[in-house]
């Protein structure tokens, strides 16, 4: 079960499994971001390339206007996937 929400600070909070079937749901939140935002991965258990694609597209769009995504609480499987995809080169991973 995948979920995405904004918390009180405006951080994007992800939970569950982010696969290709969840892209439309995720984009309802990511596509509305218009400034630098934190994405919290603490409760996300799994991500596929479809999820990476949403993050990358959002980062490209925000960077064009001088903003960016900051990724936090990245661990385990998600960190391994980010390392393989070299997301450290294109994201601020806290």
């Amino acid at each position: 079960m995948f979920d995405i929400r904004l918390n009180d600070r405006g951080d994007v909070v992800l939970s569950g499994r982010f696969d290709a079937a969840q892209v439309d749901k995720a984009k309802t939140v990511f596509d509305r971001l218009a400034a630098t935002a934190v994405v919290d991965f603490k409760d996300l258990n799994y991500i596929s390339s479809a999820g990476l694609g949403v993050l990358m597209a959002t980062q490209k769009r925000l960077t064009d206007s001088g903003h960016k995504l900051k990724l936090k609480n990245v661990s385990g499987h998600i960190r391994d996937v980010f390392n393989i995809a070299r997301f450290d080169l294109i994201f601020d991973i806290q």
């Binding site: 696969d19 799994y46 596929s48 990476l52 990358m56 393989i84």
Partner: protein, 137 residues
């Protein structure tokens, strides 16, 4: 164990359940689970996307042989797509030059130990080998 799944991204939840069941039944280290999820997810998603109008179900077979897990996806009545010949994306490129295309296959190549592609009688068969007992993604 073999099971057929509808050609629909909503099948992914059922696929994850099938993998969970196999791993528990075969007493395979749960550390392998995310790697198997990812490899099967990426290949199944590609099959759905590249042949959306095909009504055939996609078959997933999971086997344990000694100290390795064999994962096979079979897609019938499709055009060939040899993922082993796909060029890797440039993951060192700048954000502006990067695109998500090809990332799924690249991830799959990096988390399994062997990939074989066969195409015969208009059927694509992808066989993955995941060695057990080493660090897993």
């Amino acid at each position: 164990m073999e099971k057929k799944f509808q050609r629909d991204l909503r099948s992914l939840e059922k696929i994850f359940d099938f993998i969970d069941h196999f791993i528990a039944k075969q007493r395979i280290d749960h550390a392998v689970k995310d790697a198997v999820y990812l490899a099967v997810d990426e290949l199944f998603t590609n099959m759905v996307r590249y042949h959306p109008k095909n009504n055939n179900e996609i078959s997933l077979t999971l086997k344990k042989e000694r100290n390795r897990m064999i994962i096979r996806l079979t897609d019938r009545d499709v055009e060939p797509f040899d993922l082993t010949k796909r060029k890797d994306p440039n993951i060192q490129a700048s954000l502006k030059e990067r695109s998500p295309g090809g990332l799924g296959i690249y991830l799959t190549k990096n988390i399994v130990d062997d990939i074989q592609y066969e195409y015969r009688n208009r059927t694509s068969i992808i066989t993955l080998t995941k060695n057990l007992g080493r660090k897993n993604v």
